[in-house]
């Protein structure tokens, strides 16, 4: 076992933290609004139960920065899971290193940093009757190609646009009321002001939420990309540890007309332990590359229904985390509620044990982590 990769991982993590801290005109500007105030649910989740039951898609759904747990899937899906723990942090969305909205929109690089997330997960797994502790670290970020598609930016601008529509009229009414104030009873003034301001709030909130919903509906297939890197280790209770692999992922999505989207995922995995060799005198490690593409047709309504077709280059010689990926499949996604999708896939993949081709069907319930986020 080599400890160097883990150190490298930590060093790169600290370097990226340092980048955020030292950004010019960036973090922790007291007179600016920060991006952590804008948490928007944009589509179905990426933390798929499919990863736990075996067969899975080669496509990674690009989500908000809170959803980076997906990067850990290759490490946590193997073996029998007994207990799991994970945590994730997006520094720019915390109060420790908040990124000002002004900085966030200043460049694509700033937005990549603003969505940069770090995560850690651990799990107890058992192979051939022997318990092991699996741990994994990951770094992830994502980016919308068009600023206007970015949920944080869109939510903010939706409010401003709504407020500015009838802003002058509202301000004039407020000014008129305050002009009458000297001649009014205090209670009457307070009541009139409350009516005016509460009416304004009702109109603004309604307008803003409708605008955000419309933007989200139109944005499900907007162009975006995500990049992640992670690595995992498997520790034996009696000492010693094994590499579960290092995985780099690049995912991109592009719109294909109003109702279509093309998604592409590339994954490079190296030094991934073949867990079937655990307990032997020497363990085998594999490296593999996975490329997958998917075309989706559908929409983003409250009860959206989408059809899709996907292909990948998964081979019998692929690494343990990629071997059972669908070579090709058709599927249907049905939105049950906000952030919750029912997914069905039918296609061909390879058996994990012997690598032989097989027809597989998969029904999974997919929950977006945004459903679980803390509301301030």
């Amino acid at each position: 076992m080599k400890a160097l990769p883990a150190r490298w991982m930590w060093a790169s993590t600290m370097l990226l933290f340092f980048c955020i801290v030292s950004m010019p005109a960036g973090a922790a500007e007291e007179d600016s609004k920060d991006i952590n105030n804008y948490l928007v649910d944009i589509s179905g989740g990426a933390v798929s139960a499919a990863g736990l039951v075996g067969a899975k898609s080669g496509i990674t759904t690009i989500e908000t920065s809170q959803d980076l747990v997906v990067a850990l899937q290759p490490f946590s899906s193997a073996g029998q899971q007994k207990s799991a723990f994970g945590l994730a942090i997006t520094p720019a969305r915390t109060t420790l290193l908040p990124m000002a909205g002004k900085t966030y929109i200043s460049s694509p690089f700033a937005r990549l940093l603003g969505n940069l997330s770090f995560s850690y997960a651990q799990n107890q797994v058992t192979y051939s009757g022997t318990p092991y502790k699996a741990t994994a670290y990951a770094v992830n970020t994502m980016h919308y190609f068009k600023l206007s598609d970015d949920p944080a930016y869109a939510a903010s601008m939706a409010f401003k646009n709504c407020a500015d529509k009838k802003g002058d009229e509202h301000a004039r009414k407020v000014a008129e009321l305050f002009a009458q104030r000297p001649s009014m009873e205090a209670a009457a003034f307070d009541k009139a002001l409350a009516e005016l301001m509460n009416g304004r709030a009702t109109a603004l909130i309604s307008c803003t939420e409708a605008a955000v919903a419309a933007l989200a509906k139109a944005r499900w297939n907007s162009g975006r990309m995500s990049v992640s890197y992670g690595e995992g280790r498997l520790g034996a209770s009696g000492g010693g540890s094994y590499s579960l692999g290092r995985s780099a992922n690049l995912n991109a999505q592009l719109p294909a007309g109003d109702k279509g989207a093309i998604a592409i995922s590339l994954r490079q995995t190296s030094a991934a332990l073949d867990t079937s060799t655990l307990g032997m005198a020497a363990q085998a490690y594999k490296s593999s590359s996975l490329a997958a593409a998917r075309y989706t047709y559908g929409d983003q309504g409250a009860t959206a229904l989408r059809a899709l077709v996907e292909v990948s280059n998964a081979k019998a010689s692929s690494g343990p985390s990629d071997r059972d990926t669908f070579k090709y499949a058709i599927g249907i996604d049905k939105k049950l509620m906000k952030g919750a999708w029912l997914e069905f896939r039918l296609g061909r993949n390879r058996a994990t044990v012997d690598g032989k081709g097989q027809t597989a069907a998969l029904m999974s319930f997919n929950i977006s982590p945004t459903l679980l986020e803390f509301k301030k």
Binding site: N37, S156, D164, A175, L204
Partner: protein, 121 residues
Amino acid sequence: MTITVNAHDIVAQRPIEVSMTDSSGSHVELILLIGMLPPIRHAFAFTEGTITVPLPDLKPGIYKCTFVVQALKTKATPNRMYNVALDVNGHSVARCQGEIPSDRNNDFGFGDFKLTVAEAA
């Protein structure tokens, strides 16, 4: 109405420059009333932190002013915290910070102050 705007009188020399700062988590709309001048209103996007408001050249004298603050939360922006400030010629004149009550989706308040405009030295 539970927002308390802490405001105090100020003497400032011409020309007068007003700036509004918003570092709230919630959405905020601010209105500044200066004497009989047209109201100054601004709703902040998160790309804005401090804005400077151009004012007409005010004649020397005393102006009665009111700073009105409204904070709102939406589903996309559930944060309840507000923190805004008003400066005149770089000096703080009004400020408020707090949270929208948990049983409401908006709150508002105002503060009065007198602006004494003096000739430039």
